[in-house]
């Protein structure tokens, strides 16, 4: 998995859905408390429990990148161990598509720095797993040949 993408449909016009994405009071109802403002360049934060194993102090640092009312909203989604450096560097983007009887909302969480190496690693791991299976098979055969457990 290299990016996150989810699409939802709501039986409401884009103006209603937009409110839930851009009004801090409404955002708190389903997402988190924040100091969000619907202004390009505005910096805001979300807080979730820290995860030391991922060098995460619990603060998600965001900055509004692009805002087109009722259509599109994107912000950075960065975090780190708390020393001012970011170990997670990503972007969250919301897109609204008006439909006949409602709104289709798409969320994309992308731009994870470093993802280009996941493919390489996956290929590598696949190769290792195959080899491990071969070794296990051989080991099992050998064991069964010499013991009667």
């Amino acid at each position: 998995m290299k990016k996150i993408s989810h699409t939802l449909f709501f039986p409401h016009g884009p103006e209603v859905v937009w409110q839930y994405l851009t009004n801090a009071d409404l955002m708190e109802l389903w997402l988190m408390k924040s100091d969000f403002l619907p202004v390009a360049g505005h910096q805001f934060q979300f807080r979730i429990p820290p995860m030391p194993q991922l060098e995460f102090d619990g603060v998600i640092h965001c900055k509004v990148l692009d805002i087109v009312p009722m259509k599109k909203l994107s912000y950075t989604w960065n975090s780190g161990p708390g020393d001012g450096k970011f170990t997670l560097d990503s972007v969250v983007e919301w897109t609204l598509h008006p439909k006949d009887n409602g709104t289709e909302l798409q969320l994309q969480h992308t731009g994870f720095k470093g993802t280009e190496h996941i493919n390489m690693f996956a290929a590598l791991e696949g190769g290792w797993l195959q080899n491990m299976n071969k070794i296990l098979k051989l080991a099992n055969t050998a064991t069964h040949g010499t013991t009667t457990a």
Binding site: P11, H12, V17, H109, K113, H117
Partner: protein
């Protein structure tokens, strides 16, 4: 001797280190044979290798007089953990948004 530990992202932000990982993804290499692929001094290559090693990307084995570098997988799993964590995070949050909005009258 101890150098500041860089995180996964800082480690692979450097193009030379990324290329080293690519080369090592095909086969294990000695530091000398790795260095042949780069237009930089041997100490500079060693420094990058130290960084890759400290971050858990590679392991180093001394065989005779040569130091052999092999790709390790620990460094790569952190990123996958992040992505799967936030995938679950968003699914939970979006379900909440869905239930709020679906209860709301048109």
């Amino acid at each position: 001797m101890a150098q500041p530990q860089l995180d996964v992202f800082q480690v692979i932000a450097d193009p030379s280190r990324r290329y080293m990982l690519q080369l090592l993804s095909q086969q294990s290499l000695t530091i000398n044979s790795l260095a042949e692929n780069f237009d930089m001094s041997r100490p500079a290559v060693s420094k990058h290798i130290k960084v890759l090693h400290a971050a858990g990307f590679i392991s180093i084995h001394d065989i005779g007089r040569e130091r052999h570098c092999t790709l390790k997988r620990e460094g790569f799993t952190e990123l996958q953990q992040w992505i799967s964590f936030f995938d679950k995070f968003w699914i939970t949050k979006l379900k909440k948004l869905e239930s709020i909005l679906n209860q709301k009258a048109n």
